[in-house]
């Protein structure tokens, strides 16, 4: 009996130790909503889909890396473009998850939608394991995106003033948003590779998401590893919205967007303004 007790005690003691030692292993997981990503599964997927560009060590020096411009991300520094966290902070799991699903428009990184959500979550866990920062640093709280202000003519005018004069966007992105400002040719990424400011007039899609909220996040947290700074301490939220409303007018599909918005508005008001019987007739 005594021997049994001793064995039981031994097991209990070691189990406690096991829980303590195993904790850091669990911290390598990723959490996206209810999904938990797992490093081991992520590694297998990484070796199948990502290793060619991002490399075995996750340092962005895979076999194909030299043929890819911009170069694949180096995961070892823990620096990522698309974040909801402040400049200099590590991204949230959901930020990495969204980037994998969205891809990075105008780069060699495609949207990985053929992979299941579980697989993408597993990849996030493995990508995080390349940088010790994810184990050392506490996650910072994400930027809050306040409600968008109306995209009025006044807001666009204020945004133009910020873009052209006050905040100096035009020095890199150009007066007309073509990415050809006077400082544009001097820009490099953090690895010293030449990098182009975004050309608002050519592309219809942005790197870190298409909604105004996504643009707000880029403007206020910056694109780490690139010359695009965080403007969170230079712009009030309403100014950031003004700037976004102006930037939208530089896009090639702006007028169609505007027309669509107007006709949608028109459709809504006509339906609402008409009496139920009239609306019925209208449907006929």
């Amino acid at each position: 009996m005594a021997r049994r007790n001793a064995i039981a005690m031994g097991i209990a003691a070691r189990s406690c130790l096991f829980v303590f030692l195993a904790a850091p292993v669990f911290s390598q997981e990723s959490h996206i909503g209810n999904l938990a990503g797992e490093v081991g599964r992520g590694k297998k997927l990484y070796q199948r889909f990502c290793i060619g560009c991002h490399g075995e060590q996750g340092d962005g020096r895979g076999e194909n890396a030299v043929y890819v411009d911009p170069r694949p991300r180096d995961f070892t520094t823990g620096t990522f473009k698309c974040r909801s966290t402040p400049s200099g902070a590590i991204p949230l799991d959901t930020d990495l998850f969204n980037t994998i699903g969205r891809g990075l428009y105008s780069t060699a990184m495609p949207p990985w939608l053929p992979l299941t959500r579980q697989q993408r979550a597993d990849l996030v866990a493995y990508v995080k394991s390349f940088s010790p920062r994810f184990r050392q640093e506490k996650a910072e709280s994400p930027l809050e995106v306040p409600p968008e202000t109306p995209a009025s003519e006044d807001s666009i005018d204020r945004g133009r003033e910020l873009y052209q004069t006050t905040i100096k966007c035009a020095l890199c992105h150009g007066k007309e948003g073509r990415g050809d400002g006077p400082s544009a040719s001097t820009l490099t990424d953090s690895k010293g590779m030449p990098i182009q400011p975004y050309d608002f007039t050519a592309a219809k899609r942005f790197k870190c998401g298409q909604s105004d909220e996504d643009l707000y996040r880029v403007l206020m947290t910056g694109l780490d590893g690139s010359p695009m700074a965080s403007f969170s301490n230079s712009l009030k939220p309403e100014q950031a919205w003004d700037l976004i409303h102006y930037v939208r007018t530089l896009q090639p599909n702006f007028h169609s967007r505007e027309r669509n918005a107007k006709s949608n508005q028109l459709a809504k008001t006509t339906v609402k303004d008409r009496s139920p019987s009239e609306a019925k007739e209208g449907i006929k």
């Binding site: 064995i7 031994g10 097991i11 070691r14 189990s15 130790l17 096991f18 030692l21 195993a22 850091p24 292993v25 520094t77 823990g78 620096t79 400049s87 200099g88 010790p132 920062r133 184990r135 050392q136 006050t166 905040i167 100096k168 020095l171 890199c172 006077p182 400082s183 001097t186 820009l187 953090s190 910056g222 780490d224 590893g225 690139s226 010359p227 695009m228 700074a229 965080s230 403007f231 969170s232 301490n233 230079s234 712009l235």
Partner: protein, 262 residues
């Protein structure tokens, strides 16, 4: 019999989880040797020491090109006489300014507390003042914008975390710290590409940045043998061995060759 297997299984699991644990934290590298003795940095030990010297350049002075600030009239307006790049700044008798002089060897595992007062980097006339700033790991780093335009402060470290913050006119100072020693982190403003500076982060307090007289003083080093380095962004790094004795002044000179600048 069954319990024996259970024992073996638990022990094996433990062993592997311990391995992974060690693997985890051996890569972390952030924690310094915690058991290392702490040295008090003050003159009250009765062993007042001083390493003094001067940094000069031998040979012809490299040309200091003019900066063209035309892309932002708010910057160029502040310079009735055109601003010069600060790649190599010389004083009288070929003294070299903006040289970091610091103890690079000889302090062993001693650790030092960071000073309470912040190191302040000022943006004025669309240039960094000072051009080379030195501080300790963990010391508060403050960036002020005294210009009527917007800047972005973008340090490009290899051993610290990278960040990139804009600072419009009148925006309160930005505060940050650097966690690890790094000599030296380039800092730039992407909006105004001529704006370049360096941030040197030390884990000890024995460093100085030369002014236009090229002079430096390293105070209160514990008596012993040291290697002193002089780092310049364009001219390179020179080293000297120095012996520091109690209540003595040790003098040393650094002479950069000017062809190194081309």
């Amino acid at each position: 019999m069954k319990t024996k297997y259970l024992h073996a299984f638990i022990t094996a699991t433990l062993f592997f989880s311990a391995l992974r644990f060690v693997e985890h934290y051996s890569t972390a590298g952030a924690s310094e040797n915690l058991a290392a003795p702490k040295l008090a940095v003050s003159a009250d030990t009765g062993n007042e020491t001083r390493v003094i010297g001067k940094v000069t350049l031998s040979g012809p002075a490299p040309a200091d090109p003019i900066i063209n600030m035309a892309t932002d009239p708010l910057c160029s307006k502040m310079h009735p006489k055109p601003a010069m790049t600060e790649d190599v700044v010389l004083g009288p008798e070929n003294a070299v300014a903006n040289v970091l002089v610091y103890v690079s060897e000889g302090l062993g595992n001693h650790t030092f507390d960071a000073p309470k007062q912040p190191a302040v980097l000022e943006q004025k006339g669309c240039q960094y003042h000072p051009h080379v700033i030195a501080l300790m790991a963990g010391q508060k780093f403050v960036v002020q914008n005294n210009d009527p335009t917007t800047h972005n402060i973008h340090p490009l470290p290899l051993n610290n975390r990278e960040w990139n913050q804009s600072q419009a006119q009148g925006v309160p100072p930005i505060e940050a710290t650097f966690g690890r020693e790094e000599i030296a982190i380039p800092v730039k403003c992407n909006i105004h590409p001529w704006m370049k500076g360096y941030i040197a982060v030390f884990k000890h307090p024995y460093f100085a940045v030369t002014g236009k007289d090229g002079a430096f003083v390293l105070k209160d080093l514990p008596p012993g043998n040291y290697t002193i380095s002089a780092w310049h962004e364009k001219l390179g790094t020179l080293t000297q061995k120095v012996t520091v004795a109690a209540n003595q002044v040790s003098e040393t000179k650094f002479v950069f060759e000017s062809h190194a600048a081309h």
